[in-house]
């Protein structure tokens, strides 16, 4: 009986599941968590949270999303909506613990062995993000992972808009260099052939 119900839920669209969740159906919301939990946990890790911390924040974000599920009207995707909630929740945590003020702009992590020769090999996004400074990583992840505008990121981070734009630009420059072989885009921004 429960299995059949679960099967029914898996066939529903996110918006339909959200509508059901808005009436208090927790199983429908559970299905949404199954679908998008990894995306949220991944984003928080990419923002710089440790594994356990990212999972705690992701849990709280999903619970907050359930409380506010009636606000989700399906204009964007559910994943994007819940990622924004999670990103803001993580920033609030950083602010509360006074970790946001002490974020170094430049990279804390030195390039590991083998990074110099990576121009010829593939390097994934997670590895590339590790080469960014904490602030750059946060700003880039918020804008390109959580879908916040520069202005929204500046407001959430309580930083001047110009500072956020600088962090994003520096972060993008570093990522472009790192990801060039993987994405077929050379460091100057020109598309590679093939």
């Amino acid at each position: 009986m429960a299995g059949a119900h679960r099967e029914t839920l898996t066939s529903l669209h996110d918006v339909e599941l959200a509508t059901k969740a808005a009436t208090g159906e927790r199983k429908a919301f559970g299905e949404l968590v199954r679908r998008h939990g990894s995306a949220v946990r991944g984003l928080l890790r990419r923002m710089g949270a440790g594994g356990a911390e990212a999972d705690d924040v992701a849990q709280d974000a999903f619970l907050a999303a359930f409380e506010r599920i009636a606000e989700f009207r399906g204009e964007g995707t559910f994943a994007a909506w819940v990622k924004r909630i999670a990103a803001r929740a993580y920033l609030r945590k950083l602010q509360k613990e006074r970790r946001l003020q002490n974020l170094p702009a430049d990279s804390e992590l030195p390039a590991g062995p083998g990074h110099e020769g990576e121009a010829a090999g593939r390097i994934d996004l997670d590895e590339a993000l590790k080469t960014l400074g904490a602030a750059e990583r946060l700003c880039v992840s918020m804008c390109y992972g959580a879908g916040l505008s520069h202005a929204e990121a500046a407001e959430a981070l309580n930083l001047p808009l110009g500072t956020v734009k600088s962090h994003v630009k520096r972060g993008l420059d570093k990522l472009r260099t790192r990801l060039a072989p993987a994405e077929g885009v050379d460091p100057e921004g020109r598309r590679r052939n093939g």
Binding site: T23, G24, R26, K27, F29, G30, V33, R34, G37, S38, A39, R41, G42, L43, R45, R46, D55, A58, Q59, F62, L63, F66, A79, L125, D126, V140, S141, Y144, G145, L172, L175, R176, L179, E183, V185, E188, G189, R190, R191
Partner: protein, 126 residues
């Protein structure tokens, strides 16, 4: 244009979520927390309703609300009582209770209402 291309590519990479081996356990944990929160909320609402009901009923009794209603509509009450006595002589039993039959009827109506809520809730749940 190339800048935009790179940004789109970056967005695609961010959207490409890594797979977690414990994703099912993660979802189950959240469902459990939701269920627990729901139970607590239901217990709190039930408790508040019970306390409110007790306070309301005691206030009704203490304020001699029924007496005042009876005084205000003696005629109607007599007609209703007379009519009721004709169809159900057992109503005498209710009239002989210390609080009077209107209070008993009121309590029964409230109990029916509460039962209705419970049945609706159960239908929603299962």
């Amino acid at each position: 244009m190339a800048e935009v291309d790179f940004e789109r590519a970056l967005e695609r990479m961010f959207a490409d979520a890594p797979a977690f081996p414990d994703s099912e356990a993660f979802a189950a944990r959240i469902e459990r927390r939701l269920d627990r929160g729901w139970m607590v909320r239901r217990a709190a609402i039930g408790g508040a309703g019970l306390v409110g009901g007790v306070i309301g009923a005691s206030q009704l009794i203490l304020s001699r609300f029924v007496d005042r209603i009876e005084t205000a509509s003696t005629g109607s009450a007599k007609i209703i009582t007379a009519g009721w006595n004709e169809v159900a002589p057992a109503a005498d039993l209710l009239a002989s209770t210390p609080v009077g039959s209107p209070v008993v009827w009121l309590a029964m109506a409230m109990a029916l209402l509460a039962l209705g809520f419970v049945v609706t809730r159960l239908i929603d749940e299962f």
